[in-house]
């Protein structure tokens, strides 16, 4: 089988554009799409349309929804809780997209052309595995681990501070309204860091080692090589990571549920937790639907913007290469 495949691939490369195209009956392939389309209609499209519809109504989850037009959205604009939750989302974007991307870049570059080169790829692989480990952990479990470490009484962090003589630095990390959001952000950096790191390390393998050698001969230091070779070469990966991580940050739910339940006093509330409590605790389904619709619109717009930026850069680069 393998042999056939390889030969086939090569053949495909050689005369893909030559040879006359035989007209093929296309439509019958559509049958294969039928189960997928049906399943998506039932599980995604119908619920999504229902959710959008309900956002224009007042509904407690039982009885008939009462049409109220844009009332929910008007209420959202005056709702300080709503604005606060989106402000906290920005903090999450910093903690889950910006910081992990920057740290991931530096760590990946250091692991790839420092550790792997001078100490062997095995050590680099072990270190990479350590950084990636939190990524496979269920967020609920990560939450349990960290809420115990950050606990005010007998939590490991406070115990550690006391043990090294910094007892006055002890804090109620998740219970202090001034600190809670930053503590959650710290946990999210720990959770997220492995993803950019692994993607960037894989991307670095594409980079032609001769570029580095040439730069090194020219006397470029590590930082200059990082800035002028590494960064431009793995730009596609950076876009992908930023897109994925930003969307993940906007959707963050489990960590907030397990660590702080949005508290204390709503200082760690995020849109997805806000819509969850509005749906299932306050049972204001119409209002919850409006919150989640706004979140959806933001995510879709952001994805489109990122996609556009990415294709534009790629086109520009191809244009430059062709010129």
């Amino acid at each position: 089988m393998t042999v056939t495949v390889e030969r086939g691939t090569r053949a495909a490369g050689s005369h893909r554009h030559t040879g006359p195209r035989r007209p093929r009956p296309r439509e019958s392939y559509a049958l294969f799409l039928l189960p997928g389309i049906l399943a998506f209609l039932v599980v995604i499209v119908v619920p999504f349309l229902m959710n959008t519809g309900v956002s224009f109504t007042e509904w407690q989850g039982v009885g008939t929804p009462k049409w109220t037009g844009l009332a929910n959205y008007r209420e959202l604009l005056d709702d300080s809780e709503f604005w606060a939750s989106f402000r906290h989302s920005l903090f999450m974007v910093v903690a889950m997209a910006a910081v992990p991307t920057v740290l991931g870049l530096v760590l990946a570059a250091a692991l790839f052309d420092y550790v792997a080169k001078h100490f062997g790829t095995r050590i680099a692989a072990v270190l990479r595995a350590c950084f990636y480990l939190p990524q496979v952990l269920p967020i609920a479990v990560a939450g349990i681990v960290w809420s115990w470490i950050l606990a005010p009484d007998n939590g490991s962090l406070n115990a550690l501070l006391k043990a090294v003589g910094l007892g006055s630095w002890q804090q109620d990390w998740l219970g202090d309204p001034d600190l809670a959001l930053y503590s959650v952000m710290g946990v999210m950096v720990w959770v997220q860091l492995g993803f950019p790191l692994v993607v960037f390390m894989a991307g670095l393998q594409r980079v032609d080692p001769q570029l580095y050698e040439a730069a090194e001969l020219d006397g470029a230091g590590w930082w200059r090589r990082f800035w002028h070779i590494t960064l431009p070469q793995i730009r596609p990966e950076i876009y992908v990571v930023l897109t994925w991580c930003t969307i993940a940050a906007l959707k963050v739910f489990g960590a907030v549920y397990v660590l702080t339940k949005g508290g204390p006093g709503g200082v760690t509330d995020v849109p997805s937790y806000f819509s969850f409590t509005t749906f299932f605790e306050k049972t204001q389904v119409g209002y919850g639907a409006a919150i989640s619709t706004v979140l959806t619109v933001i995510i879709l717009v952001l994805s489109l913007v990122f996609l556009k930026l990415q294709t534009r850069t790629e086109d520009a680069e191809e244009g430059a290469r062709a010129a």
């Binding site: 392939y29 294969f32 189960p35 989850g61 760590l107 609920a140 969850f276």
Partner: protein, 273 residues
């Protein structure tokens, strides 16, 4: 680069890696520490002897075997069904090149981007109407579709570069489209399908919001939901918390060690598409 400057970087990286792993170590140490020792010496001391009653108590109290069975059943079914659904979709889009495939693909990408918050209430409501609320089947159905959105997107681009000659050769030998799919396309794409299988399994294992809403009875809950709910109730003492954390970490650690190469490679494959 001189050797003098090399080692500080390695040491710094090792320290950073240690920081990533330390939480796991502290949890492991404290899960096997007796409550009396914990209250005397705090979280940072090493336990004098291994105390397993905390783990045993926790296991029995939350019926952890049942939670594991639920998680394996749900994640396993979703992984297999979602791969099948993704293959069918991607066969039509990537190899069949059906008309309007760009739009169909855009539809799947959008479905993949949608936040679950915008689906959760209607899914909750509809599954109640259909008598599927609080069943593992409902979660399996939903996640099969959610994961297949990503699978379709990834596989379509992989299959669009599938060598046409192989398919045409099989067609000339008299195979119909169905046979080409199962006897040619699927076996050849096995490495990619394996990556997807592993990813779907772990992603579904880690899912929280929808299972939290859909699975309310103890007998149906997954590991993630059971632990998250317990933590949310703030009723656990230190030993129990650590037992819970350790038992939650262990399956993830097993997957990680078993699938390490698939995971790190798979991410690379998925990211650059």
């Amino acid at each position: 680069m001189t050797a003098v400057r090399r080692y500080p970087v390695l040491v710094a990286l090792c320290l950073a890696a240690l920081f990533m792993v330390v939480p796991f170590l502290i949890v492991a140490v404290n899960a096997v520490k007796s409550p009396t020792e914990y209250s005397q010496h705090g979280p940072l001391s090493l336990p004098k002897d291994v105390y397993l009653d905390g783990l045993k108590d926790f296991w029995e109290r939350v019926d952890y075997s049942q939670k594991l069975v639920n998680s394996v059943l749900i994640s396993g079914s979703v992984a297999i069904l979602a791969v099948v659904l993704s293959v069918l979709n991607a066969y039509a889009i990537g190899i069949g090149r059906i008309r309007g495939r760009t739009w169909v693909l855009a539809f799947f990408v959008l479905a993949n981007m949608l936040p679950q918050e915008a689906l959760v209430y209607p899914i909750y409501y509809l599954s109640k109407q259909a008598g599927l609320y609080d069943t593992r089947l409902s979660v399996i159905i939903v996640f099969t579709v959610v994961q297949a959105a990503f699978g379709t997107y990834l596989l379509s681009s992989v299959l669009s570069r599938f060598p046409k000659e192989i398919i045409e050769a099989a067609r000339i030998d008299g195979a119909n489209k169905w046979q080409v799919l199962w006897r040619v396309v699927v076996p050849v794409s096995r490495p990619t399908l394996g990556v997807l299988l592993v990813f779907f399994f772990i992603w579904t294992w880690n899912e929280f919001l929808l299972p939290l809403v859909m699975l309310i009875s103890n007998d149906n809950q997954t590991v993630s939901v059971a632990l998250g709910v317990l933590q949310g109730q703030r009723l656990m003492d230190a030993t129990m918390t650590n037992a819970a954390a350790l038992l939650g970490v262990l399956p993830a650690l097993v997957f990680f060690l078993v699938f390490q190469r698939t995971l790190t490679r798979g991410i690379a494959v998925g990211a650059v598409k």
